[in-house]
Amino acid sequence: MSEYRIQGATGEWEVVIGLEVHAQVTSKAKLFSGAATAFGAEPNTQVSLVDAAMPGMLPVPNRECIRQAVRTGMAIDAQINKWSRFDRKNYFYADLPQGYQISQLYHPLVGEGYLDVSLDDKDPENTKRIGVERIHVEQDAGKLMHDQHPTMSYVDLNRSGVALMEIVSKPDMRSPAEAGAYVRKLRSILRYVGSCDGNMEEGSMRADVNVSVRKPGDEFGTRTETKNVNSVRFVMQVIEYEANRQVDVIENGGTVDQETRLFDPDTGTTRTMRSKEDAHDYRYFPDPDLLPLELDDAFLADCRESLPELPDAKRHRYENELGLTAYNAGQLTADVDVYQRYEAILAATAAKVGKSESDVATQVANWVLSVAPGVKNATEDADEANDTTAANAGIIALSAAGTVSGGQAKEIYEIVLKTGREPEEIAETEGLKQNSDTGAIEAVVDEVLANNADKVEEYRGGKDKLFGFFVGQTMKAMKGQGNPAVVNEILKAKLG
């Protein structure tokens, strides 16, 4: 990986980055209550007595949330702590009904793990290992709405108590690109595991970005933490901005304050949210309402057995067993939706053409990665429901059998997307089939050559590039339905 350096007046600076990613755990109920967690519900409709911190209410851990966090830890090869404990983080805010957040400071559920991230799509094996310090589970807070009333703020507690995983990296990243790759890889793994939907717009995943700068080889500098950054692009912007700002501060004789900052997506800048002096004293202590969390071997075995094939393993298998290029394998395995679509179409295609998956893997990969998306993007009135596995496999099979040309396949797909009709029927009724009948093609070729005797003369005299003219004339005469390979072959033979 090329080194990312900031050119300051006093020389080169290195940026040091650590990320704390908050990922909302996919579960029907909240971390310590039975209330629902669906996004976008009417305010305060998903609030139990526990979430509203009514007097005498007690938290009870939701096993599914713990299971998801453990599975996530296993997916990054992390230490799973069979004994962990919940702590209270105490502070007052209107979106925090209990007056404390139940979190895990002293004994987190998941210890050290790592992610291997690649910066080059063409060379996914060239990776850098980013350490993960820990994953702990904690409650989310509610939401304040300041735009509902001229003088009052409204509180929506739907999100209050929803389970979050806080995934804390080590300060191992050295460029915005590495941080971006880390977040994308983490998101990919969470979505594979099914422990978080990774939806950054809806806030199910957000990052606190810790940035400091130093002269290469020096000790770590003072870091700032920019809170609640909710896209990969913004994470990279924050780093870029913060690193340059800190270099300016230091080079102008100042010192970087250890502080919490806020990102403004409109300007791409960060500003002070609170300084170290204003930092809360959270008075962490073990939550006396909860017993330590002890995991038994059967639970851990169940978590491990339920893990799917993970992105790196899948990518290797695509390369080694399906014979895909590293680039294609990387693209197809980056996201759960993409690989699921690929594998479904691959299986259906192989079945349809009666070949092994590896025989059609590359053709299906090209279709899924480039051909189909191109057509879909250009088709304005495409209906997603028509884009079925069977239809895709049908088109690829027609193409593999030589029944339709590449261009015809695209045309058929466009019609499929608009109408949901069967590919085979479309090819038939719309005349979108290519002609491979050598006798018929020979007849057309003979006619073309006879009509263009002068050109044939020229060609035979050495004007090689006239070959394309003959192909074009033949195809035109066949209304575009001639199989190009057969046409070429016959023309070559006839022209000598």
């Binding site: 911190a53 007097p55 007052f92 006396p288």
Partner: protein
């Protein structure tokens, strides 16, 4: 016929089941006593209609020949720390004045399911913080007991379950719920000549009980005798999946298991509880207790609980630390008091609401708790106190190799006069010195009346048992009860 309000839980249950009187007659008799005793200030809210309603249901069941339940036809007082659906629940605070829960605590629900009815919500020290009931926002409870000196000084009923102790000893109810964090059942029981047991931590669900210190809070019954405590505890106890610290164990049949024969049992006498300058009358009652248990067949052994002197300081770190966090939810945002001065922001609202909503003792404990959890002090105080707590639990563990139960005084003195200790919080805290070790160790402990002192005031003896061995505690208590012959009751001067 005996006056109905003189009957025990067991006698009421039997009389109702046998048709000697109806549950409604019982409820009305106690309702009348409650109404006549407003001077004691034992109840924050009386709910006579609830008592009658429950009694009618029991009478109807009897008419149909159905089972009446463990507490069938017994009206009780409910400490106002238990959330009661549709009935104001205040924890004796201004903060929760007017707060009406839309839910019922597990313990109170179990009691209603067992056929009990509610006479009202009993006064207590504010958020259960106090030993004399003087911290209640709704005024102190007065003990029905008076010294024999003719001075008519109003005495403390103990705390925090002082409404419960006062009401039971004054025959306003045959039994009441209490909660015990550091002696809040045992000390008031001792002050008023009644019986109260704090079971093993986790026996009774904390769900729906306003929290003071979560790792210590435990509900229990307060009644006139050991048998009634056994009956009522059976109705209150049981695993509750809504409380993560609840014990997932079957509830033993304590009532059926009652047996005062102490043959083959060893009773430990902890030498560290014999403190310098102790009231000789307390020492004498302790000696009486030893003699009674010997008479019941027990062997008495000296034991050592070496870390006893650190228990009170550790308790006054751990309990306030938990309280400071547990009480953070009272912020004026969602329910309870909201004090919103003109033009106030969020912080101003917090400050005004909490300044107004909490009394001085609650504030003192929130401040202590906040301090001991603060950065830089956490290790020196909270962590250290947790270590002490572990050592105290170990003391008891070691003692169980030598004895089955431990006998000690419940309190260092008899009831004091209201106002005597209000200016000196430390001397007030010292009331809990014998009660707190069992709380820190989560052990079952009970106070039974041992007799009257020279001033005519009741003294209590405490029995501490092994974890889960409420039966052993109840049995030793019964042995003492049968020999103490405690029949004294306060003159009904308030009527």
């Amino acid at each position: 016929m005996t006056e109905l309000t003189e009957l025990t839980v067991a006698a009421i249950r039997k009389g109702v089941a046998g048709g000697d009187f109806t549950a409604v007659e019982v409820a009305e008799a106690f309702n009348a006593n409650v109404a006549a005793a407003s001077e004691l200030n034992a109840f924050i809210v009386a709910t006579p209609e609830k008592a009658v309603e429950a009694a009618q249901a029991v009478d109807a069941k009897r008419a149909k020949g159905e089972d009446l339940g463990k507490m069938g036809g017994v009206p009780i007082g409910m400490k106002d720390l238990f959330a009661t659906n549709g009935v104001q629940t205040t924890a004796a605070s201004h903060m929760l004045e007017g707060f009406v829960p839309q839910y019922e605590s597990t313990v109170s629900q179990k009691l209603w399911d067992a056929g009990a009815g509610m006479l009202g919500k009993l006064n207590l020290d504010q958020f259960a913080m106090g030993s004399s009931n003087e911290t209640s926002y709704f005024g102190n409870v007065i003990s029905p007991w008076r010294r024999k000196d003719g001075g008519n000084a109003d005495l403390a009923p103990g705390g925090s379950s002082g409404g419960s102790s006062s009401a039971v000893s004054a025959r306003l109810c045959p039994a009441a719920t209490g909660t015990d964090t550091g002696g809040s059942i045992r000390q008031p029981a001792a002050f008023t000549g009644i019986t109260g047991i704090k079971p093993t931590y986790g026996r009774c669900s904390r769900w729906g009980v306003v929290a003071f210190a979560s790792s210590l809070d435990q509900a229990g019954p307060m009644a006139r005798d050991v048998t009634d405590c056994a009956i009522m505890l059976e109705a209150m106890a049981g695993f509750d999946p809504k409380d993560s610290t609840s014990l997932d164990m079957p509830v033993p049949e304590w009532e059926a298991g009652l047996n005062p024969d102490m043959k083959g049992k060893k009773v430990g006498i902890p030498r560290e509880y014999r403190m310098d300058g102790m009231d000789p009358e307390i020492l004498k009652s302790w000696d009486d207790g030893i003699a009674w248990l010997k008479d019941a067949g027990a062997e008495v052994v000296d034991i050592s609980l070496p870390h006893t002197k650190y228990a009170l300081p550790a308790y006054y770190i751990i309990a306030p630390a938990e309280a400071s966090s547990n009480l953070a939810r009272y912020d004026g945002v969602r329910y309870g008091l909201r004090d919103l001065p003109e033009g106030a922001g969020l912080q101003d609202m917090y400050a005004a609401t909490r300044a107004d909503g909490f009394g001085p003792e609650v504030k003192r404990r929130i401040m202590i708790g906040t301090y001991v959890l603060s950065a830089g002090f956490y290790d020196a105080y909270y962590n250290q106190a947790q270590k002490v707590r572990a050592l105290i639990a170990r003391d008891f563990e070691q003692a169980w190799s030598q004895c089955d139960v431990i006998l000690a005084p419940t309190c260092p003195s008899a009831a004091f006069a209201l106002g005597d200790k209000t200016s000196d919080p430390l001397s007030m805290y010292l009331n809990d010195v014998f009660a707190v070790p069992a709380s820190l160790a989560g052990l079952p402990a009970m106070s039974v009346p041992a007799g009257l002192n020279s001033e005519g005031l009741p003294l209590g003896l405490q029995i501490i048992g092994k974890a889960f061995d409420e039966q052993g505690v109840l049995n030793a208590g019964l042995a003492i009860e049968q020999r103490a012959g405690f029949t004294a009751k306060p003159e009904a001067w308030w009527k």
